[in-house]
Subunit: 392 residues, 2 copies
């Protein structure tokens, strides 16, 4: 299958590109490399310095004998390149990670909110139009987020809700309560994609992904230079990854507020499976599917306690510290999302065990000297701008 | 009250600015005048050539002795001006019409879809951030559209839906099924505004407006140069206005498909009342209200028949012609939207009567020589690009 991976330089995009290349698919990656700039901007370098994208691709070719094609391009700002890539490569599937992925980044100030929605929403609009023009029968697999739903007081179904009003009924898009301008951008994407499917007959699977943890996949382990970019900072580092780095670095595990807020999680290796399964069982023309992509639910405090316990076994002294919550979010709420679709397709979840957390910490420990402790504490407040009285 | 009217040069914005200025409010208008450019682009000149905005304001001052302040600025592209206007004028209320208002325009091609969502969504993001910075206690009255809902198989409540899932219940945002990239932009706005209210404590009323008809208000009648821009073309002309112009011009009334599609409508004079009422009964800090703003529901065919009948009384020979529907929409569907909120605030609907339609047609007849019949037939197809294989 010809698979186009948009955002193929990122934490998930790069392992995804390798994963499909290794299994004999023809893979092309597109990336504008902007994430590397954002990392410098917010002082959030990944744990291990990533080689350039083209260098990674050469190493991949040397190690495996397989070629991954590449285009360095901004899909939001350069539609001509997007159209040309779609026309020339003729992808049968598009895996779309090419978005600004951080909630705190989108909440820094006006400029970052506008940038995030412009980049994410307009980039996806360009992708939809390029599909319509050049590959109307291709299958779009778009990475959304479980955060689109927020925390409603009812069970979270997969994309749809059966409603009954005054004796009439319908199945409608599940109402969304996103918690940041980043999460909002994914909600906007979902509405735009759904419209393109029902109006133009495109086929799409919207993967509402939980928080991903993990540092290695089978492919990243083939060569030291094939690692993916692992973040532990307050802007790009997600909860479990950050807790593990904090434990290794000997600083407190920072829980926002009480830590009672529950979220859904999955292993980076399961991310690859969750993309593989819908690609192998594609949506029909005109179909817009929504799969909730996670394997387990934890409260943030449960996660921190799990990491602290595992750290103890490694003779690390991990202490949990509750910070004033920089976000506006419920810390006590109902949370019961469904994830039947991917399980039905055959997903076998790798559940989070103490053993895995220990493995992650051992791996992080190899680079402990590179952990910059100053980048871990949150600096972005949901209710207070960083910046000045004039817009930035 | 200091009222800032964003989009104050438009079909509704200009009458709104005059309406509040006349009732002793302090009014400032902001507009980038882009609509005048779009009109030329799509060959859709308004029925009567509009004076420049500054000229209109001088006439207004001469006729009434009242001053309306003005800033020519693009709220999506020039946030610094937005912030300065908010800081200097210190609006107590913001009436926000400053968006690209045409569904067909947003469906021309990729460029127009992206332009519409960039202009509308990012402009509103700038407004929200400027409010947060400079007037966090002001009241935003934002014009949305009834088209955000689409045509679900259940009654359409005002913004919210009570859901029950597995014995638990919640009141959540009403699910949306918008029918064009324009309608989608309003859905995105709604989500962004709702977030700003619940996260920053802003106060907002989202007016989901039906299709507006009419050509005059009390203020437009004060002087011939105070008229508003009336559209009858296929891109910016809405159903009833277009039918009246067609009847006067002696060309067939063009109904898309069977005409069974039902929509909600209101008189332009009621638009003014529907903005006045929430301004006088403002949302609370942190409150996000949604009012459905219309007075009547008609099918498109019913409207055409109503116009044809009224035309007959004026000895005009109005014939109805069914065109192949250029849009992707249901032509037979349930449609029962609620509009209790504005009625409860005291709205007294001006219902559509034969008499009003006759009055409109008489007014249009004064400018019949200016009607360009070539601009009336739809050229934008929901499923087919205008343009070339490279993106425009």
């Amino acid at each position: 299958m010809r698979i186009l991976v948009l955002g193929g330089d990122g934490y998930l995009g790069w392992p995804t590109a390798m994963f499909f290349s290794r299994t004999d698919h023809e893979v092309m990656v597109v990336d504008n490399l902007a994430k590397r700039q954002w990392e410098v901007e917010v002082d959030g370098a990944p744990l291990e310095p990533p080689p350039t994208l083209r260098h990674r691709l050469r190493v991949w070719s040397d190690v495996t004998g397989r070629e991954i094609q590449v285009a360095i391009a901004d899909i939001a700002e350069n539609p001509r390149v997007v159209y040309r890539v779609f026309e020339d490569f003729q992808p049968e599937a598009i895996v779309h990670y090419a978005e600004q992925p951080s909630a705190p980044y989108s909440m820094v100030d006006r400029n970052h909110a506008v940038y995030t929605q412009r980049n994410n929403v307009l980039g996806t609009l360009n992708v939809l139009h390029a599909m319509k023009r050049h590959v109307p029968e291709a299958h779009l697999v778009k990475l959304g987020t479980m955060g689109e739903y927020g925390t409603p007081n009812v069970d979270i179904a997969e994309g749809w809700i059966d409603v009954e009003v005054n004796g009439r009924s319908d199945r409608l898009p599940f109402p969304k309560l996103p918690g940041s301008f980043y999460h909002l951008s994914k909600v906007h994407d979902s509405h735009n994609i759904h419209f393109a499917c029902r109006t133009w007959g495109l086929a799409a699977t919207d993967l509402n992904q939980g928080v991903v943890y993990g540092i290695t996949t089978d492919e990243t382990e083939l060569d030291p230079e094939l690692h993916t970019s692992f973040h532990y900072d307050a802007v790009f580092g997600t909860a479990l990854n950050r807790f593990c780095a904090q434990a290794v670095a000997g600083v407190p595990l920072t829980v926002y507020g009480s830590g009672g807020q529950k979220r859904s999680f999955l292993n980076i290796r399961d991310t690859l499976e969750c993309v593989r399964l819908p690609l192998e069982h594609a949506a029909e023309p005109g179909e817009y599917r929504v799969f909730n992509q996670f394997t387990e639910v934890f409260s943030v405090l449960e996660l921190a306690e799990l990491v602290a316990a595992a750290a103890g076994k490694l003779c690390l002294d991990a202490r949990i510290e509750h910070l004033e919550n920089p976000r506006i979010e419920s810390e006590e709420h109902w949370y019961n999302p469904r994830n039947d679709s991917l399980l039905a397709l055959g997903l076998e979840p790798r559940l989070l065990s103490n053993e895995l957390v220990e493995t992650m910490m051992r791996r992080i420990a190899e680079s402990v000297d590179r952990i910059d402790r100053a980048t871990i504490l949150p600096r972005v407040q949901w209710r207070q701008d960083i910046g000045t009285a004039t817009p930035s």
